[in-house]
Amino acid sequence: MDYLVLARKWRPQLFGDVIGQDHVVRTLQNAIRHNRIAHAFVFSGPRGIGKTSVARILAKALNCETGPTETPCNVCSNCRQITEGLSMDVREIDGASNRGIDEIRELRENVKFSPLSSRYKIYIIDEVHMLTKEAFNALLKTIEEPPPHVLFMFATTEIHKVPATILSRCQRHDFRRMSLRQISDTLRKIAKAEGIEISDTGLAWIAEGAEGSMRDAQSIFDQVISYAGTAIKDSDIEALLGFTDRKLLYNLSRAILARDGKTALHILDEGYFAGIDMKQFYQMILRHFMNFMLAKTTGGEERLMDLPDGEAAELKKQAGTASEETLRRLLDILMAEDEEVRRSLNPRLNLEYILIKMASLEPLIPVDELLQKVEVIERRLSGGAAPARSPHSPAPAKTPGKQAVEAKPPDQPVPAENPWDGYRELVRKKSNPLWSKIESGTFLGYEKGLLRIGFPAGYVFLDYLNEASQKTRLAEIAREFFGEDVTVKIEAAAGENRPVPAAANGPSANNRNNNDLKREALNHPLVQKVMDLFEGAEIKEIITRGNRG
């Protein structure tokens, strides 16, 4: 006798054996009890969770000699034949191999004959999603109104490939993935019955590796038993399940975040010689770093990251060591190579390239943080500039009254060589609108409590500034600035020429004019563009045309 793998040996034979599909089992049992059995069923759900098994059990329940019953006896000849797949009245069809319209026509021919030895003629079409379009359509009339003795059961992992016209004619049952606990409990039962020693941790590991599928769990369990015999050590399971892959992944990301290319290469090498397919490894790394991003942006919501328990903590810990910008750049490097890796004949080289590129990435500082730092520096500079400047201007020559200087609060701007700048600054602080109006003015002099400000004739705001209220306001600010009572005088200068404080300043003012022009020329967008375009270009001389002429 052949060895029967656990998944086949332990296939549920009664509704009671079916694990984790209570919602389906209960519906079916009640339907049998109340004699309200539909004539067509669809069972859908992921692999290895009992769709085919439930179909067979239902067939037995209906055709059992003691039935229809919720608990088929499993001993009568009908039940036994169904279990062995020999029953003439329960035809289990492999929908993926017999998928054409001819097979369906043949089935329709046979549907009209009554069952040989049991109540119903039952057609179980497994992998029904692979039937061709024509085959499905040929079935429509038959499954809508089959003869009273005929029942259809369809099982599929890909319900979306089944046409809606089929689905609307069937009673649909969606099977669920199993929980870790359900899987490990079942495995424990099997282990006990088979006389196998295995720890609870080991069972939990197997359950985890199965990803919610009972058959996967049983396949792995089988493999572990073939490998290690009846006394199973945890290390055996670890070796078989390839947990080491996950460990490698974490070591790898740690090395990359620590910018340790050497270790990263060693780990890659280890993975390669452990037999991991490099293209798949690339996908794993990609997914891993995607998880980092998720951990960072969601603050570690585990629901979004498809992770085994206990890994989330390690993930968060590692993600904490890098900034979001760094992670994004690492992910960018990874993703950019997707196409290359996919087509590569030697993906290992690509991975080495990627890893070193990732490891040699300079850590990035988030823009927010950078701005904050700039701000701090700025503040320190402006805060530090005032005390730095004060020793240079202990007593401005033009400001009379030493006591006034002493009376000032220390952080107030001190009247410098030209008190106009300081004054304007203070006005700006006090009242922005006012500042904008006097900004273009010229300092004409300050003597004995009289501040004279000059404006070009025809200045728009001249009248406005000459109003008493504005003058008072300016005077108030001036008093604060100079530390004594000040009268403000607004003067309109004649002509276009800016009034200058003294005649001796004439050439220098002219100079300044030139400088302004030159600065304007330098800032001209065209010049800027040229500088951008031509690397290494420099501006040697700026010639103002007016002066030359």
Binding site: D2, Y3, V5, A7, R8, P46, R47, G48, G85, D94, A96, S97, R99, D126, E127, H129, M130, T157, S213, R215, D216, S219, D222, Q223, I225, S226, Y227, G229, G242, G261, K262, L265, H266, D269, Y272, F273, A274, G275, D277, K279, Q280, Q283, E340, R343, L345, N346, R348, L349, N350, E352, Y353, I356, K357, A359, S360
Partner: protein, 331 residues
């Protein structure tokens, strides 16, 4: 041949033997791993061992069954290969038909599906029911170097066995024993084969060694101050697309070696270990970004050539783009 004639793969072989010993041989296996590491050979020897009349755990090589297998006329070992691009549903149906009868010789009938990931969707689905519950005394072994391309429904029905790449020494000793190669050639080939015996043999057949030497010699002797230097290099790569791509791959591994040496300072992982001196000099003179740049340049060139770009132009552009270490390197 028997299990002990397989180089490496201690783990999967031990696993198969232990399954036989305990009488727990599954009806469906998936052998996965790099191309040319012995997956199919192991599957065949496993078949021989299952059918051997003398030795319960191995192939004796003397009994009638083993002799038939060795001569390739045993009726109970069937190998399915992709016909063209895919393994198609017709072949799976043929497999199902053969399964209706009991094995001719009374032992186990084994179907070996080579490159199983190349089953198209219809074929893979058609196999599902058979893979889950084949007729008694039938065993299916899927062999694949890209197992993750198989549907989950297939994977869930198989026991998975992973075959790892072989170490450099294992390949070298395989080459010296089987091919009567001298040790030095064998070790150079083994280094380039990246763990796959199949690749090492193919390289040997393709006169890889000579091509490698030509390319490396020229690239090492290359001087920046020679403006038409790159153009003289073009000829080295040959005219045929295949040889050209292989040549580019050699160039890529050269820069890869420089990179690895620069990063780790170790020599045992290097492919071109026999040119260590030149390699060291280059590694000292090139910065990591430059090396990365060069690898990228070579990769771009080979993907352009794969897409049928003008070979001459692509190569010339690539050679001009490559960042070369300062003159005097390897000189």
């Amino acid at each position: 041949m028997s299990f002990k004639d397989i180089f490496g793969q201690k783990k999967p072989i031990a696993f198969l033997k232990s399954a036989m010993e305990r009488g727990r041989v599954s009806h469906a296996y998936l052998f996965s791993g790099l191309k040319g590491v012995g997956k199919r050979t192991t599957a065949e020897i496993f078949t021989r061992a299952l059918n051997c009349r003398e030795d319960p755990l191995d192939a004796c090589g003397r009994c009638a069954s083993c002799l038939k297998m060795a001569r390739g006329n045993h009726p109970d070992i069937l190998i399915l290969k992709p016909e063209g691009q895919f393994i198609r549903i017709q072949e799976i149906r043929a497999l199902q038909n053969q399964m209706r009868f009991k094995p001719f010789e009374g032992g186990k009938r084994v179907f070996i599906l080579v490159d199983a990931e190349r089953m198209n969707s219809a074929a893979a689905n058609a196999l599902l029911k058979t893979l889950e519950e084949p007729a008694p005394s039938n065993i299916l072994i899927l062999v694949s170097s890209r197992p993750h391309q198989l549907p989950l429904t297939i994977l869930s029905r198989c026991q998975l066995l992973r075959f790892s790449p072989l170490s450099r020494d294992q390949i070298a000793s395989c080459l010296t024993e089987r091919m009567n190669m001298d040790r030095e050639t064998a070790s150079v080939l083994a280094a380039s084969a990246a763990g796959s015996i199949g690749k090492a043999l193919k390289l040997h057949k393709d006169a890889y060694l000579k091509a490698r030497e030509d390319i490396l010699r020229k690239i090492v002797a290359f001087r920046k101050d020679d403006p038409i230097g790159p153009l003289s290099l073009v000829d080295v790569f040959g005219k045929e697309r295949e040889t050209l791509l292989e040549g580019l791959d050699i160039l890529r591994t050269w820069y890869r070696d420089i990179l690895v040496y620069r990063e780790t300072g170790e020599t045992e992982k290097l492919i071109h270990r026999d040119c260590l001196e030149a390699l060291k000099v280059c590694a000292e003179k090139m910065a990591v970004p430059d090396i990365l740049q060069n690898i990228k340049t070579v990769s771009r060139a080979s993907s352009a050539i794969e897409r049928n770009a003008n070979k001459q132009l692509t190569l010339e552009t690539m050679l001009f783009r490559l960042v070369h270490p300062n003159p005097g390197c390897g000189g």
